[in-house]
């Protein structure tokens, strides 16, 4: 089966091409079903191909397709190991559910077929990224997901906000890509190849500690761009302008995990540099805290989830930064389940509220939308880290590993714990504001449960959110054994064992419970109390509500000076210096041509004469130099 693994990429690619040409013609809902079928088949193929790993029998295999850029050591070659298998299953599995959901969600959109073209293209790109066997193919997928992100965020491009958000995502991603590219160049100059097998086999031989740190930090820049970490996270909240399934698929479940995946993939390099690893973990921890504090004060349901995503990605960075790659990937997986569920649930709510996203205008929806309500409740508990739901296991493992490492990591552990509390708080707040309390609907809104195509994926994802954590419990480390072959030769950090494990677990559960109770006390209790409390912390609350004005600060310090520089370059430098040079060359050529023009008499006999004289001259020269 492994040699057919290219089908995993090829099927969605085929779907893309097909829908590109015929998407509009076959229309709704068949375009959606075709798209779902292609990615669903990818999932099935991935699942069959992953069977040997589940049995613990097989080892990593490469599938050679064709020569691409031999000089870079970059062939069209796929790597099929547990890590890519996990990613393929997550991407295609969650992707399939979101595709199916989109059929209902995008109902009535006039560019229905086009939407699924992009969705399939995204799946193609992401699967290329995770299946790559060298950095060149990885980079190809990396750039393509950026492109898809742009296309899908600004899918409703007639809305200025959506168009701007798409551009922002693209540009911020480019900044990260820049670091990523420099990292690739550094890798290439060091190793002379971009192939995983040669770079990652034993990087210590060629890679000094300094270079390893540099490469690691540069990869971190790229990963931060894609995975929305400090300081490049600003695009993700804006990306909520796209259709909600896009937010679910790209900005929660799959694309943003590319950064985490890359760090995990290049684990042997990070193993060489403590500095780089600590940097990854630190960035992750602070991002987690920052995003969580912002999430607390948001009114827009999708923005809460967006900042929550950033925060959770921060957790994953803490995990992979602490050398707990399995824990990081584990959280990536569980997060994919419950965050996709949250977004889809939010989408369902938005759908029901006639595109209303402000939580202050919701409330009391539980009675109207039973399935959405229940599944959202499960997701909220899962992300809050309540056992035995999925989030508890993975988050706990990350926190445990950080604590075990000690030293500087104690600080990170503390931040993580605080974040866990905040997470529980804002998620509960969101749930209460949306589903409980009195209805605060705008007039003319009649909430209703969503159609079957939307609720079925919700239920499947809810089940996964409940059960997903059980693949890697301290009692049975299933995922760890599964992923082990992918991290051969890398020393993995582990969560503590014995009593400490239970204490830490209890502490984090406690943090979650406290968060939930605080939120419940504040938002289910009398309104005056809430008003009073918020009044006391008005200023910091205002700052959090406005995301600490980071966007404005970026605008002031980077965008506006950049614009000024561009204007100077365009109208002063370019017009004066560059055009001057060009025009000077042009004038020079003109003068020269004017001087030489009389040679061109237009008389063909003249030319013939010169030609003949030239030939005769050559013959004479050859003869006189003894050539003949």
């Amino acid at each position: 089966m492994t040699e057919w693994i290219w089908l995993v990429i090829a099927l969605p690619a085929l779907g893309t091409v097909f829908l590109h040409f015929f998407g509009r013609r076959i229309g709704e809902p068949y375009a959606g079903w075709i798209a779902s079928a292609t990615i669903g088949s990818s999932f099935v193929i991935g699942l069959i191909a992953a069977v040997p790993f589940l049995r613990g029998e097989a080892h990593a295999e490469t599938v050679y397709l064709f020569d691409w850029i031999p000089a870079l050591g970059a062939h069209a070659e796929l790597l099929w190991d547990p890590l890519s298998a996990l990613m393929v299953l997550v991407v295609s599995g969650v992707g399939t559910l979101i595709h199916v959901y989109s059929i209902g969600y995008m109902h009535g959109d006039e560019r229905f077929g086009r939407f699924f073209t992009y969705m399939n293209l995204f799946a193609t790109s992401m699967l290329t990224l995770v299946l790559a066997n060298n950095f060149a193919v990885l980079f190809l997928g990396w750039e393509l997901v950026g492109l898809c992100s742009y296309l899908l965020i600004s899918f409703w491009f007639t809305r200025p906000a959506a168009a701007a958000a798409g551009k922002k995502a693209f540009i911020v991603n480019r900044i990260g890509d820049f670091g990523f590219m420099i990292a690739l160049m550094l890798v290439f100059t060091t190793f002379g190849t971009l192939s995983y097998s040669q770079v990652l086999e034993n990087p210590g031989e060629l890679l000094g500690a300094g270079t390893a740190t540099a490469v690691g930090l540069l990869f971190l820049v790229g990963a931060a761009g894609k995975s929305a970490q400090i300081p490049l996270y600003v695009w993700l909240p804006d990306a909520m302008e796209g259709p909600t399934p896009v937010s679910a698929l790209i900005h929660a479940a799959t694309m943003v995990t590319a950064g985490v995946f890359v760090v995990a993939r290049t684990a042997p390099i990070y193993a060489l540099s403590e500095t780089a690893s600590v940097a990854v973990a630190t960035v992750g921890a602070f991002t987690a805290l920052l995003a969580a504090t912002i999430a607390i004060a948001q009114r827009d349901i999708k923005r809460v989830l967006a900042y929550s995503t950033i925060s959770q990605l921060g957790y994953m960075f803490v995990g992979v930064g602490s050398a707990a790659y399995v824990a990081g990937m584990f959280h990536l997986m569980t997060h994919a389940f419950f965050k996709a569920l949250l977004f889809l649930g939010a989408g369902s709510v938005i759908h029901a509220m006639a595109d209303e996203q402000n939580m202050n205008k919701m409330g009391g929806l539980f009675g109207k939308m039973k399935i959405t309500g229940w599944t959202m409740a499960i997701a909220t508990l899962a992300i809050a880290g309540i056992p035995p739901l999925a989030g508890f296991w993975s988050k706990d493992e990350i926190l445990g590993t950080a604590f075990e490492k000690g030293g500087f990591y104690y600080l990170l552990w503390a931040i993580g714990l605080l974040t866990a509390l905040l997470t529980a708080f804002y998620m509960t707040r969101m749930f209460i504001l949306t589903f409980l309390g009195k209805p605060r609907w705008a007039e003319g809104v009649h909430p209703h449960e969503s159609p079957r195509t939307m609720t079925v994926p919700l239920m499947v994802l809810a089940a996964l959110s409940v059960l997903g954590g059980l693949v890697n419990t301290p009692f049975r480390l299933g995922l760890e054994h599964f992923l082990e072959p992918a991290f051969e030769g890398v020393e993995l950090a582990h969560a503590p064992e014995g009593a400490l494990l239970w204490i830490l677990a209890a502490v984090s559960v406690l943090a979650g419970v406290v968060g939930i109770l605080m939120a419940a006390a504040l938002y289910l209790g009398p309104e005056e109390r809430r008003e009073r409390l918020l009044g006391q912390i008005r200023r910091p609350w205002f700052a959090m509500e406005n995301a600490y004005w980071v966007d404005q600060m970026y605008g002031r310090t980077i965008v506006i000076p950049g614009k000024k520089l561009s204007i100077w370059a365009a109208f002063t430098f370019d017009n004066g210096v560059i055009d001057g040079i060009v025009n000077g060359v042009g004038v020079l050529v003109q003068r020269l041509a004017a001087a030489l023009r009389p040679l061109q008499t237009g008389l063909v006999r003249n030319y013939a004469l010169v030609l003949a004289a030239g030939v005769v001259g050559l013959v004479v020269w050859f003869l006189s130099s003894g050539g003949l």
Partner: protein, 101 residues
């Protein structure tokens, strides 16, 4: 006195020079064309003569192909001349100098 290959070569050279001179001196496109034919034939003569001297048929194949190419060239060339004449009412190449600098 026997005729050696040199004689034919010198004759061919003279014919070639006559053709080249015609090409350079005459203005009538048709006559220029004929001068080119003359040059081609001069070369053909060298092919046959040297081929005979070297006991090699290849020279005659060269002549054969030159003949075919010359025929093709004449067909197209004369068609062009007729086209030019239809637009310009002249066959003098000196008057076709729009492309001069």
């Amino acid at each position: 006195m026997t005729v050696t290959v040199d004689w034919y070569l010198i004759l061919a050279a003279v014919l070639f020079v006559i053709g080249a001179a015609g090409l350079l001196v005459r203005r009538n496109a048709i006559v220029m064309f004929m001068s080119i034919e003359l040059m081609l034939n001069a070369v053909n003569l060298t092919f046959v003569s040297v081929g005979r001297e070297l006991r090699d048929l290849t020279g005659q194949f060269a002549v054969f192909f030159v003949l075919v190419v010359a025929a093709a060239e004449v067909v197209v060339g004369l068609a062009i001349i007729v086209s030019i004449f239809r637009t310009r009412a002249t066959a003098s190449v000196d008057e076709l100098s729009e492309m001069k600098g």
